[in-house]
Symmetry: none
Subunit: 162 residues, 4 copies
């Protein structure tokens, strides 16, 4: 285990990088670039799939494919096109042109940061969604911060009274 | 910090206790017992509000009261009746008579367990819901396991094609 | 007629076996086993088709094929694939991974148990249904308990006021 | 236990009486008669509530009041007006002017008849419903036939293909 210690600044930087990467994938896709290579690189650099284990519940997954414990399953959610995950449309392709977090709260615990926040997405078509998120970030042996847990869920909408 | 190490068995036990406590609160409520005292005790015994910090996104919260960073806010969600949280109906009062987890996956990390799973609730009226959950459990200095992070969200339901 | 007398324990055991057999068929189907042989064996062991008569109204049958008075019709409902029953999809194949009964009430009458209860089914995809059921169980000459009557119907859902 | 033996003729007579009694209650109600007295008499004469136990799942009940194990609960379903059963509208008051059974099948077993059939109801307004039913009838010590089990459920309606 690393002796590195998570800091407040690292929390903010890690979340900002996550947001920036969503915009980046959409931009590459819009410009006809190699979105699969970029998304796979992000999964290696920012998620702990290669050397560890990742608990990942993306926003729009359901049923038997709710949780994505493999890098392949996460990549499919990001960019779609995998026949083994027929419901994945490629969430990060839209493009989302502005992505940011708010309502941030967290606990630092050694080499981990345990985080909750909302993340907002504005599309090129001016549509807007936001989601409730939990993250656990870890400083890995190579000094990079990677995601160990990520849950993203649409907010609860109460029914109108009847 | 404790030198205790989380184990597989502790993960299962901690989740089972969480489930059992939901049933317990409903049963006490049905029998006219002191549900406020029980719920407060559970928050002290099983959540880290008293000596630490808890990140908590309950299933049915929304808007400005989505995240419950205080013990008072968590208690209100459990049993309702707090005018500062007017949308809280007391989720744990229903009663829920059968509660269990499945699709469990987790990462052990020193004194922490980082967990995702589904939890199912069946009511005394035979209704059923299930939720997608993330937990971070910690072994505290007194040897008890307490929750540091808890997100609970209803599953995503895709729209039927139109 | 047998002189055996039905007991409370036999009621619970017979219902539990019924529930376990639903899970068992789904598991065998998931693993590519011989589900037709298993389902046929269950119909011989637990329903009185071979030597007696069975009154059977399964959950999802309708029209001219509502009642299944033959073993062939019951088998088709369980596992599908019979062109004479084109609406049967094989209810027990789903798989259902957790099945249990509640709201049990019954009358013992000599070698018979006359039973009503709800039965709940949770699928591998976390979906849930429950049904209202009536059973008449009989202790047969070989000492086995078999079903003589079985009605299973979806609960009534009142319309919301308009 | 009686030594009386159920017969084919008794099955038909018992069902016909059940149907006739539905029409009778509606007629008394339309004419301003004492429907509560009549319905209570029918429950004493034709259901085994007074000296035995009855398993009863009426057509339109749901939730915590699905099963009616008491004479009071059955009476409420028939004629409504009981504040402890607020969803009961009085099924037998409508009036139903023509009620009959078809698709009859049964097993005779000593002093019992175990029965499945459909029952059709046509209202004074020319509306029509039919239900799937299970009955267990018993010849009681006084020689009368009474209902020990009665499940009535609306038929399953398959969804249109999507």
């Amino acid at each position: 285990m690393t002796s590195k210690t998570f800091t407040d600044q690292l929390v903010v930087d890690s979340l900002q990088l996550w947001c920036d990467n969503v915009v980046r994938i959409g931009k590459i896709h819009s410009e006809g670039g190699d979105v699969a290579a970029t998304a796979a690189q992000i999964l290696s650099d920012n998620y702990d799939y290669d050397k560890g284990k990742v608990l990942f519940k993306p926003t729009l997954t359901f049923g038997l494919q709710t949780f994505r414990s493999t890098k392949e399953g996460a990549l499919s959610y990001f960019i779609g096109g995998n026949p083994e995950f027929p419901d994945d449309k490629g969430f990060k392709l839209k493009p989302w042109v502005k992505v940011w977090f708010n309502k941030l709260d967290y606990v630092l615990h050694g080499d981990l940061a345990i985080v909750q926040c909302n993340v907002h997405f504005v599309g090129g078509d001016d549509s807007h969604i936001f989601v409730n998120k939990s993250f656990v970030f870890k400083i890995c042996d190579d000094g990079r911060v990677r995601i160990v847990l990520h849950q993203s869920s649409l907010p609860f909408h109460p029914q109108a009274p009847q």
